[in-house]
Symmetry: C2
């Protein structure tokens, strides 16, 4: 279950807060009339069963799954996987992520590694035109053609893409690959409950519980709106950077997911809060100085897990000590005039993670409307894509 504490701050007057809060009906109306909120609908359970079944099959035939995707087809599953994995002695089924880079070092070392093992591939792109994804997919398919006959390749390639359109869907129809669909009414950064993320997660995570938690998130709608209001007020008062603070390194990629979610939703029209993150206590020894005494443009959102592994240090529970440190840091930063919000989870498990995901997605969408931008597009991404296309010239992928 989630708990919230948004009001340890000096920066906002209750009048300011009320003024922004009063836009609630307007925001909810816009939200409900959007055609991009498919992620609030319930997911087809038979598709979920098919993912689980397929993951069990792949595990029998392969030593790892290579997931090829980037952006909205990468961060969600990667973040959840990391949150639930062990630091050492990890006995989960190996998932390798590729296509998130054009690094020839990464790619050549990966191909070298895959040469000698049996693997399957899940390629994920809604449009089938994502540059990094399609280039990586081609290079890995080339290796598969060297290793496996056609029948074997067919068994080892799983495609997640648009229902009808695009080159990947064509390939599915021609080659008979197994495939899943990304609905039209869900954008990349809001796609955590689509097969783009659920299929890679099915290999190691109880996705049914994750889905349960996700839909429970609807109960935090009021808090999601409050969080968006507080953030908008802080931005109005010159706090233009939000620092997500976690106390567990395994949550780092969850903060990366948050950065994408909020940064891409709000960062338009000269607006938005720049999202950054810190892993405590590590980064207190790095950016802690800046937060405490540097330029006053930062506010913080602490994400705290109430219960964790039991371990005694000098007869005291180490996680309790970690919690005391967290509160001490909040107090110290607050004394340095830094607003310190907090969102708490009881346990770090599938259910609470599901709740957290939904809470933040809801809040990000509301926030977009408060910033008076469209929460579900990303027109700025087209600018560099166009530039790349012009400069790469005839190179096709």
């Amino acid at each position: 279950m989630l708990k919230f504490d948004f009001f340890r701050m000096n920066d906002i007057s209750s009048t300011d807060y009320q003024k922004v809060y009063d836009q609630k009906n307007e925001v909810y109306e816009k939200f409900h009339s959007s055609d991009m909120v498919g992620w609030t609908n319930h997911i087809d359970i038979s598709e979920v069963e098919r993912m689980i079944h397929l993951s069990e099959q792949v595990k029998k035939e392969s030593q790892c799954l290579v997931v090829i995707g980037i952006g909205g087809s990468f961060l969600g599953s990667y973040a959840v996987l990391k949150m639930l994995s062990n630091y050492f002695n990890d006995d989960s089924f190996p998932i390798i992520y590729a296509g998130t880079t054009l690094s020839s070092k990464y790619m050549s070392e990966l191909l070298d590694y895959l040469k000698d093992i049996d693997f399957s591939v899940n390629v994920i792109s809604k449009s089938g035109t994502t540059m990094e994804t399609m280039m990586t997919y081609q290079m890995i398919k080339q290796l598969m053609a060297e290793k496996y006959d056609e029948k074997e390749q067919q068994k080892r390639i799983i495609v997640t893409t648009d229902q009808d359109q695009g080159i990947l869907r064509q390939e599915v129809n021609q080659m008979g690959y197994q495939s899943f669909e990304i609905p039209n009414n869900i954008g990349g950064r809001y796609s955590i409950m689509t097969p783009a993320h659920l299929l890679p997660l099915a290999f190691n995570v109880d996705i049914k519980k994750l889905i349960d938690g996700y839909y429970q998130g609807e109960q935090f709608r009021e808090e999601a709106f409050q969080y968006a209001v507080v953030r908008k007020c802080l931005a109005n008062s010159g706090k233009w950077i939000e620092n997500y603070c976690v106390y567990e390194e395994s949550l780092y990629y969850f903060t990366e997911w948050l950065k994408q979610l909020f940064g891409e939703t709000e960062g338009k029209n000269g607006q938005g809060i720049f999202p950054v993150s810190m892993v405590h206590t590590r980064d207190l020894h790095s950016l802690g100085q800046f937060i405490q005494q540097g330029r006053k443009i930062v506010f913080e959102t602490f994400i705290e897990v109430e219960h964790s592994n039991k371990l005694l240090y000098n007869g005291q529970d180490l996680h309790t000590i970690n919690g005391i440190v967290l509160e001490s840091v909040r107090k110290a930063h607050f004394s340095g005039d830094v607003a310190c919000l907090k969102i708490g989870l009881d346990y770090l498990n599938e259910v609470s993670i599901g709740q957290l995901l939904y809470f933040f997605m809801l809040s990000a969408a509301f926030s977009g409307y408060l910033f008076q931008v469209e929460p579900f597009d990303q027109p700025g991404v087209e600018v560099y894509k166009k530039e790349i296309k012009e400069n790469l010239g005839v190179l096709s992928y």
Copy 2:
């Protein structure tokens, strides 16, 4: 060899630039009269030999080295190690970093892992009072006491600390542990060329070459000052976030090192530039939208490696494609009124990394003086430390 391109921007007039640049003599004077620039002195080569020799001994007796340190006793060696390691099929000697967190999950999983293998420890703390370091050290020593007799423990513990003072130096004198010294005239974030980092690196990196490259960095003093001047001018014009952009995931921790170096050096007195980083092309699909069209408070510094692994995609060199993408992104962001500086390396190897480290340290120190703060202290860190001490009460470490 390093190459620089600092002037793709609209934000600074040449008059503004000259005005800041004219403080050069003053800054150099302050720099040279500081008693914290021991990191510009030459390092004792016999100590370097001792580190290399010791690393060879440890490799024979242990399956891994546990490095216990945080902040300035962690990020430098970790960053360089990552920069030079393979993504897959890594055949380097395993180095495990601990003490960067109070996570009971991390700590209990680590202890569980170490139970069944032979390991050595390098504990690093200048003062011997760093909370996370000393707590972790105690817990790991307890495990060692269960596994090894006293003579064996003595062989497996290596201490890096102050020459004369502190609890760790006392332990060395009592127990006869092997030890190294962190000089008094070098602060944590400027300590990359001390045993705090060179010893852990000696296990996998040619530290003599790294040292060579480092001292070659002195030739880039003028550029280091120029970089500091440009950044200061950008900050004056409202660009309060610097985004370090790399095109290779293995450089991510180097950007973390940069964040510590610049954030902790400048972030005082309500001053400073907030350092963030992006790994391209991955994060173009995340924060790219914000950079292009969001709030105009960001400028970017691209770190580019000219030569990398050879790999062909459709008959074209993949690294060349990555370079074209980098330039396209610079052009696109520049068209969105984002200043785009660039620092280039020919190859990613010990020598060029050494040059890069020195260049940035020099520039950070100059920058502190330009922001009219003391580059080598971190008074804000004491605020939360004091708060923690009060709240943790009698708990001793």
